[in-house]
Subunit: 391 residues, 2 copies
């Protein structure tokens, strides 16, 4: 089968942009990606987004962002899979390129959350959960994750401080990332004294609400990728070796185990099999840490830590620079930020830049193989992708 | 490249189903499609839907319908392109199969519109238009189409009666269709005396609001398609030869010509080129007639009538049984119904059944090649597909 290469990345800083529409943000990211790909314009756009229908009253988002970015006419559609929308857009774009239906595709994501009041945003984000069996009874998305965090703590004997090493480290990483929403270090005291949102989750344990857009440009075949590399003066290619997706029930009550994200397990196995790699081959990881506990459970379900050991190993210094894999040097959802439908594409762009060696933040130790992990809901959907550096 | 075949279709009747959730409707259509494909279960689902986020408060729709239908775990995501969501789902599913990323994919669509009050539904459907430049100023989707109808009438000298031959005929066709929402004949008098919605569009000039779901199952390669045909005792295969997509501005004011749906023109050219056919090769068409005028403009932009002549030719009896192409024997959006995100898949299923010769309604004259045309907004997005009968 034909191989797919990632030849351009474009990111906006994540933040509160009252002066920018989602289409402004998307155009900014798209044209940065086009520049990064030596001027190569996509012939189709797949845009991941969760909340435009509810918060902006806008459907037809694909055509809207294509037109506004100056690319009126090309195939363009929106993919929705809650917080996994970006990953799902990458999955669809990968198939479009690999099939030969389109030869150059922009996989993007955009989210504009800060313009609505917090109550609306909380409600909009809760739509990742089951409307009839969870939200109807008052559940919020943080509330549901708090149940997971409680169980993780009690079952494996962790304190709030144990789990707080995650945000502590993520803030440190983000302090180097020019695109991060929270590019500043924090302290254990600040984390543990931050307001309680849903016991035991405190403000600093959760990803922030933010606006942002990200785009990666995919092409088919090594020849085309070499051509772009030459035009941009790069000596490495980034292959998108596989994108795998799996799902689970939306409502948590139907799960077999609250502390195992089964769709993450399945998608990881599938992605690795398709890419011909195993856990031991993965040098760098960007994983989906919407909350501290999500980061630990993800480490476990991706196969990098035994069940229940994620927080312990992380606290002991695993997954940091020099270890294998190195994890979330972007700062993660926690501190890089989580513009929901764009997050999966931020991860892909960050992984690609780490492989190319030009990530403008906290640098990985020259990774050859990277993996990204994006989920919607509490892994109601998981999209796992494997990227390889090709010389 | 590998060829894609459509091996199963499943439809629900379109109507008002207060007792059924969208996931019930989808499961019904999905399992009918699986039965129709001799029990072949899809390994991924792409679901087209426009309004679940707004009217049901539910995102993560892909995982939800997969789980509820008993297929928990498989890749599943939602595609949104307003009224073109079904066509866009077909486009993504086609690429997934053709690329080999998944070998058996269900392309589906579902919409549940009747549970919300009419004002909410009108607002939800207006989200196909530009939120900032159109809806903000009070435009409704019918209002925007009324401008098109006015211009079409005045520029080409048509009366309301001239345009009303469309719904008259569509109701006749639908009266034979067991899945149709409005399976009954009407009269010119009834049409012309129906309430005015947005001058000159009357109630009977517009597609109804309804609930429904549709699924088609796609597989890769002729061998697999032959295997299913054998298991189901069919002697013909249906090849999905091409699916093409194009977009336009969302807001109408940015268009070059209000009476040319440019994305339809472009997608038609592309779909025909990819399938190696021309207009003269097309025997059967299911096109997107959200309003009477949309049907006529579509006939023109698909290349089956000169500009401005669609209504005249239709009134004179063109596009009816025995002509080439035969058009909308399902009853079209007008009378079969228009469960928005499912419509593009209803069309694909109807085209396939006409090619197989087992459409349980008004039958085409043994077509060899069929085309479907699904749009979102006023052709803000267009998805055109070509299907071939293979013996």
């Amino acid at each position: 089968m034909d191989r797919v290469f990632l030849v351009g990345v474009g990111l906006t800083k994540i933040g509160r942009f009252f002066e920018k529409h989602a289409k402004d943000l998307f155009a900014e990211a798209l044209w940065r990606a086009i520049d990064d790909a030596g001027g190569l314009k996509p012939r189709a756009i797949v845009v991941g987004n969760m909340t435009s229908s509810v918060l902006m009253g806008q459907d037809s988002l694909g055509a809207l962002v294509a037109d506004y970015a100056g690319l009126r006419g090309i195939p363009a559609f929106k993919v929705e899979a809650a917080c996994g929308s970006g990953g799902a857009a990458l999955y669809a774009a990968y198939a479009l390129v690999k099939s030969g239906v389109v030869d150059v595709v922009a996989a993007g994501g955009v989210e504009k959350l800060t313009e609505a009041n917090t109550e609306y945003v909380t409600r909009a984000l809760a739509q990742a959960a089951d409307a009839d069996f969870e939200v109807f009874y008052g559940a919020t998305f943080t509330g549901l994750n708090a149940m997971v965090a409680r169980l993780y703590k009690s079952l494996f004997g962790y304190s709030d401080e144990d789990l707080s090493y995650w945000p502590l480290k993520m803030h440190e990483y983000a302090s180097f990332n020019p695109y991060a929403q929270l590019p500043r270090k924090t302290t254990m005291k600040e984390i543990l004294e931050s307001p309680l949102i849903a016991d035991p989750i405190r403000l600093y344990h959760a990803a922030p609400i933010g606006d942002g857009a990200a785009v990666v440009i995919l092409v088919k075949g090594e020849d085309k990728a070499r051509e772009v590399a030459k035009a941009t003066g790069r000596d490495v290619l980034v292959e998108l070796s596989s994108v795998a997706m799996a799902t689970d029930s939306v409502d948590l009550a139907s799960r077999n185990d609250l502390l195992t994200m089964e769709s993450t397990v399945v998608a990881t196995r599938d992605a690795m099999q398709r890419a011909g790699v195993e856990q031991r081959n993965i040098d760098y990881v960007e994983l989906h840490d919407a909350f501290h506990v999500t980061g630990f459970v993800a480490l476990e379900d991706l196969g990098f830590a035994p069940k229940g050991m994620g927080a312990k190993l992380f606290k002991e210094g695993k997954f940091q620079r020099g270890d294998k894999p190195e994890v979330n040097f972007s700062g993660g959802l926690k501190a890089r930020g989580h513009p929901v439908g764009a997050t999966g594409i931020y991860q892909a762009a960050e992984a690609a830049m780490q492989l190319r060696g030009d990530f403008p933040g906290y640098k990985a130790s020259s990774p050859e193989t990277a993996l990204t992990h994006n989920i919607g809901g509490i892994s109601t959907i998981a999209i796992v992708s494997v990227f390889k550096r090709v010389r």
